[in-house]
């Protein structure tokens, strides 16, 4: 479905930048989520308006859109949480003094909704339970491979969390209905789990790829070899070509991180040639006798 940013802002295609800004301001003043702390819909509406404005207020992007080069989503603004999500949540908050009770539902509207369908004395009200926030630190391989983890809740109970493979540092998982119980038959809140991923001793994650520095011996480098390389889910045997050098990068296709939309990243192996740790008389003799076929100055690019 095509998204028309002009329509969203309610302006003509010929509108000036000034008119576009005015239209945006008029709408945003009404629907900005932080100016509507109790209205959940405001967030969706504002997101639309803000991304329409991001696109049209950038003259280059607007031209591209008018020419049909990008669609109305081309400029969607990745948005962080809103202030209200924190100021209204049950976490410690330096900006307000009464921060102990959080809720996603609007309790004002709960009050007034009751007024609408009040039967007899009208004493019942429902309230959705609070969301509960937790932190979970995963070791590197658990995040890459996924699996079940258990969080111990403050009351001693365990909460099982399913980690999907390829989980990222900073990601927040939402477990529906696993927060605080609702009141008066209201639904339970959600558990929000912020994931931290600990670094690994030798694996490094770059996007969906895994990088690793792989030490090899001088002999393996000069003559080539088959060596075992650790991967995130075990190890594989890989061929080091003859004449491999420090800095040579080899690729293990499909041995990286699982992608959310299917497929897998790669593992990249950077070789590092290591000389014997203790002086070796045989090697010294060999090198003393060695006459290179071509003399080489590896410092030539430095001009020395």
């Amino acid at each position: 479905m095509a998204i028309d940013p002009y329509k969203i802002l309610g302006v003509e295609k010929t509108a000036t930048q000034d008119e576009i800004q005015k239209a945006y301001r008029k709408l945003a003043k009404k629907i900005h989520p932080d100016l509507n702390p109790g209205n959940k819909k405001a967030e969706e509406q504002f997101k639309e308006v803000a991304s329409a404005y991001t696109l049209l207020s950038d003259e280059a992007k607007r031209k591209q859109f008018d020419a049909g080069e990008i669609d109305g989503l081309g400029a969607e603004k990745p948005r962080q949480n809103y202030y209200r999500d924190y100021a209204d949540a049950g976490t410690a908050n330096p900006y307000t003094r009464n921060a102990d009770f959080g809720d996603d539902n609007d309790f004002f509207s709960e009050l007034f909704r009751r007024q609408g369908n009040r039967g007899g004395g009208g004493g019942e009200f429902k309230m959705r339970g609070q969301d509960a926030r937790y932190r979970l630190t995963l070791d590197f391989l658990s995040a890459i491979n996924g699996g079940k983890q258990t969080i111990t809740l403050p009351d001693g109970a365990g909460l099982e969390v399913n980690i999907s493979p390829g989980c990222r540092d900073g990601q927040t998982l939402r477990l529906r209905g696993k927060g605080q119980a609702g009141i008066g038959g209201g639904s339970a809140g959600d558990a929000l789990i912020e994931i931290k991923v600990a670094p690994h001793r030798f694996f490094q994650r770059v996007g969906d790829d895994i990088r690793i520095d792989m030490p090899i011996t001088l002999k393996e480098a000069v003559l080539g070899a088959k060596i075992k390389v650790p991967t995130c889910d075990g190890s594989v045997t890989m061929t080091i070509p003859k004449g491999a050098n420090t800095g040579t990068v080899l690729r293990l296709k499909g041995q990286g991180v699982a992608r959310a939309k299917g497929g897998q990243g790669d593992q990249f192996i950077t070789l590092k040639v290591i000389l014997p740790t203790a002086p070796d008389a045989a090697l010294e003799n060999l090198i003393r006798e060695w006459k290179p076929t071509t003399e080489q100055n590896p410092r030539e690019p430095m001009g020395v």
Binding site: A28, Y95, T96, G123, I183
Partner: protein
């Protein structure tokens, strides 16, 4: 989060952050390594949005102050509702029907 990360995600310059902290718009609670928190970031986004909406340096502290009051009131009222719910059935009905009749 670190100061550098914060500046990048919030799209602001160092001196802007310093001004905001000095004016008391942001109250970082962390130490040097973990200087600013998620709530500080959300608040910085809000300040940016208010700027974009035409609020100036004089009106922003007024708006922030009112928003903080609003959240404080919401939190207190919610606490009150929870307490009311803990009352015996007839007390609860009495209190609540009293409110909605107004």
């Amino acid at each position: 989060m670190k100061r550098s990360e914060f500046l990048m995600v919030a799209h602001i310059e160092t001196h802007v952050l310093e001004n905001w902290v000095e004016a008391g718009w942001l109250l970082p609670q962390g130490d040097a390594d973990d200087y600013l928190s998620e709530i500080d970031l959300a608040r910085a986004h809000l300040i940016n949005d208010l700027n974009e909406l035409g609020a100036n340096d004089d009106s922003i502290p007024i708006i922030l102050n009112l928003i903080d009051h609003l959240h404080g009131t919401r939190n207190t009222l919610q606490e009150l509702l929870v307490r009311i719910h803990e009352q015996p059935e007839n007390t609860r009905q009495e209190i609540l029907s009293g409110i909605v009749q107004k």
